[in-house]
């Protein structure tokens, strides 16, 4: 399945994801959901983060994607929480070596889908950064969540308005979108130029 209508917006998003001042890079908050709750270990003091001036404190959470609203979504927001998929081994990967994650999408502040047109549901999707295919994560339930499993390295998560929760292909407008933490990897050659000749600190 190809994603056609959203390609320009998603390409733009991908480019923004490469920009040094991308919003997720400056976000703070829980480091990752996998260390949250009962098994959560306390955060390390900043004095132990090296280098002190750059990098560590700006690094986005490893297992959380913040979903940002498009112009049609107003003040809505959300997140996609990643958790390594269950495995007998120490790490969960496919036979091709893609990391497998359970993903839980949480949305907030979205308008009633019917207010946007002939839509009745919101659906969460994922696509690799090359937009080669789109995979349905799931329909957003009344509790504002959708769950599924992913096996991508660098990918986008987005939420669309759809005519039905049962759709198998994306057709409606994108309301929320976010880039995987791996999308924040910098090109060491281009980064100094994009950042005015300075490293991205």
């Amino acid at each position: 399945m190809r994603l056609r209508s959203a390609v320009p917006a998603l390409v733009l998003l991908a480019l923004l994801g490469l920009a040094p001042a991308a919003a997720p890079a400056t976000r703070s908050g829980p480091s990752d959901p996998t260390s949250a709750g009962a098994e959560h270990a306390p955060a390390l003091p900043h004095s132990r983060l090296a280098p002190a001036a750059c990098g560590a404190t700006a690094r986005p959470p490893l297992y959380r994607i913040d979903l940002k609203p498009t112009s049609r979504a107003g003040g809505a927001g959300g997140s996609a929480l990643l958790r390594p998929a269950s495995t007998l081994f120490g790490v969960s990967v496919t036979a091709d070596g893609h990391h497998r994650f359970s993903v839980q999408v949480q949305v907030r502040g979205l308008p009633d889908p019917s207010s946007l047109g002939s839509y009745s549901a919101y659906v969460a999707w994922a696509a690799p950064a090359d937009l080669g295919s789109v995979r349905k994560i799931g329909a957003v339930g009344t509790d504002g969540t959708a769950s599924g499993e992913l096996a991508y390295e660098k990918f986008l998560v987005f939420v669309t308005a759809e005519p039905s929760a049962d759709v198998t292909e994306k057709s409606g407008p994108i309301l929320l979108q976010g880039l995987s933490p791996s999308g924040q990897m910098k090109n060491m050659l281009t980064e100094p130029l994009l950042n005015g000749g300075m490293p991205p600190c």
């Binding site: 990752d32 996998t34 983060l49 090296a50 081994f89 120490g90 990967v93 910098k186």
Partner: protein
């Protein structure tokens, strides 16, 4: 064996333009250094050849102004100054079926090997690659007379065995290092069925990587403990770094490649660069996998066969399961049965999504580790029915049952995994700062080889930290009462300067992995080494029943050499 690296991701138009500009600008000041590196090595003297930069994966030509940077260690190779022609040629290993009370003479020495058309000096136990396969029955005890004939001090550690403490082979913890020319006698007891391995515990980044490793397979006396198979095949996975001069030098004073560990580019299975196995159509093969590489985590795929996962480090899982691949980290073992239904030649591959940290891209990497040739001749004895059934191991479940009451108990001890890096050249430090935005859960390849090479134990200090006491590494010193059952939570800090996956090994005991990232394990096996990916939290339940002072450490050889170890005592 062959390595394929398909084209990396195509950058977008915007980033491609910037890439081109940057390449031009950055190449200018680096040009002369690059030329020197490319044209001069053959005519240089030995010292300069030893200081050559490491080979890199395709597409990772790092022209980032690092051409003149070198690690702060003296390059060193086994058998320095020794004429290889005076050394015995290494030979494939033999299987030693030993009985209770038997004695084995195990000599670590220099050998000559031919790899990729080069004659190189490596290490070997009893001149064999890998070391002799020791096969014993459970509860046997053997005597091993170890003779160190290396050019380094050494010991033998019996990885995974709940051995008597004085024979655990840890220098300055359970014994003095055995100097070159010295000897030591180990009494090796095998209390649990499973697949184990033995290796030195001195400069593992050199000694293990250069050939000092071997398996022990401990058979259960219980009839029917193992499924019937047509063949058994140990697969010991190692990777060495190799170029046109031969083995790439190691750091003499301390380990180089200290950040990510040394990723090799020559894959050795059972010490062979060209592992081959011949079976008949319909045969079921039981593979015993052991990862002895310095740092590499593999994702092993058996092409052409259906794969059933049977066991882990210290015996079987509660239930057999079908798997597509076997991700195996350093020092871990897995037992898998594979049935080959059709004639043909099938590779055993390592298939991962690698990273080019310089470009900030992923790319698929497929390394052929060996091949299995399936003849057209039908199997002598067809085990299809048994193979096609997933069995439960009631004896394993029963053994674990008495520990279930501890599963929901509070955590007793916590460990944080992190790193402190200081003193690298300014250019390297700056480039690493450019690379701090993302680290994968597992580093499957060396995505920044030259920066990694330049980092040594002088600059990088990997850390086990007890957050409850603030103590680190060898200052931690936990104590557990003999017979206690201890719950330990291990968290791999994702916020350090260069977080990385760590295979954590506890000596002398066995443990269960209760949960990963809050998800309980529902199919358990006893283990001695657990992989903790970046950002992950793993909870283990350790059966602290074997008295003594023991080591726990990251089994990435360079991380161990740069400090990532602690002791714990089990006693009254």
């Amino acid at each position: 064996m062959l390595t394929s690296h398909p084209t990396a991701e195509v950058p977008s138009a915007g980033s491609a333009l910037a890439l081109a500009l940057a390449a031009v600008l950055l190449a200018l000041p680096a040009a002369s250094g690059t030329l020197r590196a490319q044209d001069g090595t053959a005519s240089r003297d030995t010292a300069e050849v030893l200081r050559r930069p490491p080979p890199m994966q395709h597409g990772m030509n790092m022209r980032l102004g690092l051409e003149s940077e070198r690690p702060s260690v003296t390059p060193w190779l086994p058998g320095e100054g020794v004429d290889p022609s005076t050394l015995p040629e290494a030979k494939p290993n033999e299987v030693l079926r030993l009985a209770d009370g038997d004695t084995l003479d195990l000599t670590a020495g220099l050998v000559r090997r031919a790899l990729r058309g080069k004659t190189v000096v490596m290490y070997a136990f009893n001149r064999q690659y890998p070391g002799p396969l020791i096969r014993v029955k459970r509860d046997a005890t053997i005597v091993v007379r170890f003779h160190n004939r290396l050019d380094l001090a050494s010991t033998v550690h019996w990885h995974g065995l709940r051995i008597d403490n004085p024979y655990d082979g840890v220098p300055n913890v359970t014994q003095d290092p055995v100097p070159p020319g010295g000897d030591f006698v180990y009494h090796v007891h095998f209390p649990d069925a499973g697949v184990y391995w033995y290796h030195p515990h001195v400069r593992g980044d050199i000694e293990i990587n250069a050939g000092l490793y071997g398996n022990e397979i401990v058979d259960s006396p219980i009839y029917g403990f193992n499924n019937p198979v047509n063949r058994e095949a140990p697969l010991i996975l190692n990777d060495v770094l190799f170029d046109r001069h031969g083995l790439f030098p190691y750091g003499k004073e301390t380990a180089d490649f200290a950040i990510m560990g040394r990723f090799g580019n020559l894959f050795l299975v059972n010490g062979e660069p060209d592992y081959r196995l011949e079976v008949h159509r319909g045969d079921v093969v039981r593979f015993y996998l052991t990862d002895v590489s310095p740092t590499r985590t593999y994702n092993v795929v058996f092409e052409g066969g259906k794969t059933k996962l049977v066991g882990a480090d210290i015996g079987p899982f509660e239930r057999e399961e079908w798997v597509e691949s076997i991700p195996i980290a350093v020092a871990q073992r897995y037992v898998a049965e594979v049935r080959y239904d059709s004639a043909g030649t099938y590779p055993i591959v390592n298939r991962v999504q690698a990273i080019n940290h310089v470009k900030g891209t992923f790319f698929p990497e497929v390394d052929t580790l060996g091949t299995v040739h399936v003849t057209g001749q039908p199997t002598d004895e067809d085990h299809a029915d048994t193979f096609g059934t997933l069995h439960s191991r009631d004896s394993v479940t029963a053994d674990i049952e008495s520990y279930r009451k501890y599963f929901d108990e509070p955590v007793d001890k916590r460990l944080e995994l992190t790193v402190n890096i200081q003193g690298l050249p300014g250019r390297v430090q700056t480039l690493m700062a450019s690379d701090t935005m993302y680290y994968p859960p597992v580093e499957w390849n060396d995505g920044m080889p030259k920066m990694n090479w330049i980092s040594t134990g002088h600059e990088a200090r990997w850390i086990l930290r007890d957050p409850d006491t603030g103590r680190e590494n060898m200052d931690i010193g936990w104590h557990f009462e003999t017979g206690s059952v201890v719950k330990i939570r291990i968290h791999n800090d994702p916020t350090s300067m260069h977080p990385m996956n760590h295979p954590i090994h506890f000596h002398g005991q066995r443990f269960l992995v209760l949960s990963r990232d809050g998800v309980p394990s529902d199919n358990l096996a006893w283990k001695d080494t657990v992989l903790v990916p970046v950002g992950s939290t793993v909870v283990i339940l350790m059966d602290a029943s074997n008295p003594g002072t023991w080591l726990a450490h990251c089994h990435i050889a360079e991380h161990l050499e740069t400090g990532m170890k602690m002791t714990f005592t089990v006693g009254p």
